[in-house]
Amino acid sequence: MHVEHATPRPRVGLFVTCLVDLFRPGVGFASVKLLEDAGCAVEVPMTQTCCGQPAYNSGDRADARVLAEQVIAAFEGFDHVVAPSGSCAGMLKKHYPGLFRGDPEWEGRAERFAAKVHELVSFLADIRGMDAVAARQAATVTYHDSCSGLRELGIRDQPRRLLRSVEGLELVELADADVCCGFGGTFCAKYPDISNAIVEKKTARIEESGAGTLLAGDLGCLMNIAGKLRRQGSAVEVRHVAEVLAGMTDTPPIGGR
């Protein structure tokens, strides 16, 4: 007799993030595949929009709170909530509870919700114990540590460990991998010239690394870096780390070639 799942599969709500939804659906499907490979039952609530960071980081706490309520209501029933972004997962996990401080109805609810939230790659490695993926890609890649994932959620070794398990893939370290790319959400719109000066340093380090592909775990950073590399006429391709880990690299890279 074949028992498909000896233990019940955990129900995971995929918070796909507004940027992935709009700009890079493939990251969403790669996330689903990786989560299913890790033994999870994945659901995608249709009432999700955005985590609220644009409002929260612009000082608009009222709208940030309304959006937080919307996310919590849509996702609190799952065993885990997973997002393919350190920035959005950080918002849900580290910042939502503070929005409800002192509110007897919501505070505990937000804290219970926050405890279930994980960024995708760290969830696979740390919670599901995944130490290898069944993917292959002949490429030399380098990895940029997105700030929120690195400093709010401690994501550093997990993506590197899983990437090293990809057959044929060579991972070279990026100098200043832990330095911001200059995206900063609304920052890049408010201070475009400063943002540009910062991303120029990042693309210079990427070129120096000799890698043919730049990976990271946050689409905001990736669009910023890809947009700059394309404008500079670089040959370096840009992808979300989940695409490579899921072996779903038949799509054109972010921003094309």
Binding site: V16, C18, D21, L22, F23, R24, P25, G26, G28, F29, V44, M46, Q48, T49, C50, G52, A55, N57, S58, G59, D60, R61, D63, V66, L67, Q70, C147, S148, R151, E152, D178, V179, G182, F183, G184, G185, T186, F187, C188, A189, K190, Y191, P192, D193, I194, S195, N196, A197, I198, V199, M223, N224, A226, G227, K228, R230, R231, I254, G255, G256
Partner: protein, 472 residues
């Protein structure tokens, strides 16, 4: 000093186009970050020390009135004078009165950001007294009529050849062909030029890194020895210090000192750590005849009990600005007042008003590196966000931003409407992106596309594709 924080954007644009400045800013990275990392890696208890320093400062701030009064009593007991200055103007007046009473024509100065904050040099000059900066970096910018661009390396915005040119221009009594190609030779020349000023000066003015409540001691931490000469050779020593510099005991000092130099320059200790308690006593070989402390509030006590209180833990190591990508890109002058970088982005709005300094807490990517290196664990990004909240409440941010945000939030709060809007946007942008899969320009996104392409989406959103796939 003139506040140019409201024109932060123009300041930043100028800074980005200034090749000399950009060259000089490269030194911040090599000069500070690597050295700090090595020093921190070499001290296993560094993280525990950060906790301890945070707790010491929190405890002190919770009882600031008691510790300041205890400090004052000890200074008086040692024969010194304590002057309370509620505002910058009060502090300027107090210092000028002390200088006048001493008949001073020349005063030497050790490095002090508080003296910058109160505009002391300009005030003394306007009243016929010549202030001479004795810290090398401060001396250089005084020659140039500039203000510090960094709180511990005031001339970090300059290259060596700019300094050489300034020295040749100002020190025109020295041999024109002299060697000035090394930092050491520049330092040597500054020493020779400054030496007589110490003996001419009637008053020496220093800041204080710390004030010790249990002993009434002021502490300065320096590398050049100029602070010691400034405070021992004048007839009068004036310490200008802000109220949050007080710590309870010498034991507390010794803990925090283990963090300060490591965080600042990567040194285990600075070359000089000088403790001063009162004026010269009978039998002392040297020291000033009078010892004054000017305690400056200037808005700090109003920060107590607010969401900005944690900022008063700051020990002015500058690690936050050294590690800030924005500071590294534009330097300190662009921030437009005394305190630049992340610590300035939080402190400046408290001291000069968020209406003037509103850009500063906004000009951050929230990358969090400042908080990660802060020796007293100040949550700098969180406090910048609080300033953004104050600005939003008061309607200080630009209307385009406010209405754009409100319109976006209106849609984001309505998932069905949002899905439809996202689907239209995806289709539109994908169509514009064409086979290249990117856009070189886009109306209303000029800030982005001026410098980079916009990667194009696919023709439908993830949620559309997911629904199509899962719907029976």
């Amino acid at each position: 000093m003139l506040i140019t924080s409201p024109s932060f954007k123009d300041n930043a644009r100028r800074a980005l186009g200034d090749d000399k400045l950009q060259q000089a800013l490269g030194n911040v990275q090599t000069g500070f970050i690597e050295k700090r990392r090595k020093a921190v890696d070499g001290l296993p208890e560094f993280e525990a020390l950060r906790d301890s320093a945070r707790d010491i400062k929190n405890h002190t701030l919770a009882h600031l009135d008691l510790y300041l009064e205890a400090y004052e009593a000890k200074v008086k007991a040692a024969g010194g004078h304590v002057h309370w200055a509620a505002t910058a103007e009060d502090a300027r007046k107090i210092v000028l009165d002390i200088c006048r009473a001493a008949g001073a024509r020349t005063v030497t100065k050790g490095k002090s950001m508080v003296s910058e904050e109160i505009g002391l040099n300009e005030h003394l000059e306007a009243n016929g007294i010549r202030p001479v900066e004795t810290d090398l970096g401060e001396y250089i910018i005084q020659l140039r009529g500039e203000h510090p661009s960094h709180i511990i390396a005031p001339a970090v915005h300059l290259t060596r050849d700019q300094v050489e040119a300034d020295f040749r221009r100002v020190h025109d009594h020295l041999a024109p062909g002299r060697e000035l190609s090394e930092p050491q030779s520049i330092l040597g020349e500054a020493r020779r030029v400054l030496r007589p000023a110490y003996f001419e000066a009637d008053v020496g003015i220093t800041g204080a890194n710390f004030l010790i409540a249990e002993t009434g001691t002021s502490v300065i931490v320096t590398n050049e020895g100029n602070g010691d000469l400034t405070q021992t050779l004048g007839k009068v020593h004036v310490v200008v210090a802000s109220i949050e510099k007080v710590v309870p005991t010498l034991e507390d000092l010794s803990q925090i000192l283990r963090l300060l130099a490591r965080s600042a320059t990567g040194q285990e200790m600075s070359v000089y750590t000088t403790l001063s308690t009162g004026p010269r006593r009978p039998g002392d070989p040297d020291g000033p005849g009078e010892y004054h402390v000017v305690l400056l509030d200037n808005g700090r006590s109003a920060m107590l009990g607010t969401e900005y209180q944690d900022m008063l833990r700051c020990i002015r190591c500058a690690a936050c600005m050294n590690h800030c990508p924005v500071y590294q890109a534009i330097g300190g002058h662009a921030y437009g007042w005394v305190y630049p970088g992340p610590m300035g982005a939080v402190l400046t709005p408290s001291l000069i008003g968020v209406d003037k300094a509103g850009h500063l807490p906004n000009a951050s990517t929230f990358c969090g590196r400042c908080e990660a290196v802060c020796p007293v664990r100040i949550p700098l990004p969180k406090m910048m966000r609080h300033w953004r909240e104050r600005e939003f409440e008061r309607g200080l941010n630009p209307p385009v931003q406010r209405y754009g945000l409100k319109a976006w939030a209106f849609v984001a709060r309505r998932p069905r409407l949002y899905r439809r809007a996202a689907a239209i946007a995806a289709w539109g942008l994908a169509t514009l992106g064409g086979t290249k899969r990117r856009l070189a320009s886009l109306p209303l996104a000029g800030g982005w596309t001026r410098h980079r392409d916009l990667p194009a989406p696919e023709k439908s959103t993830f949620l559309q594709q997911w629904q199509a796939r899962t719907r029976p």
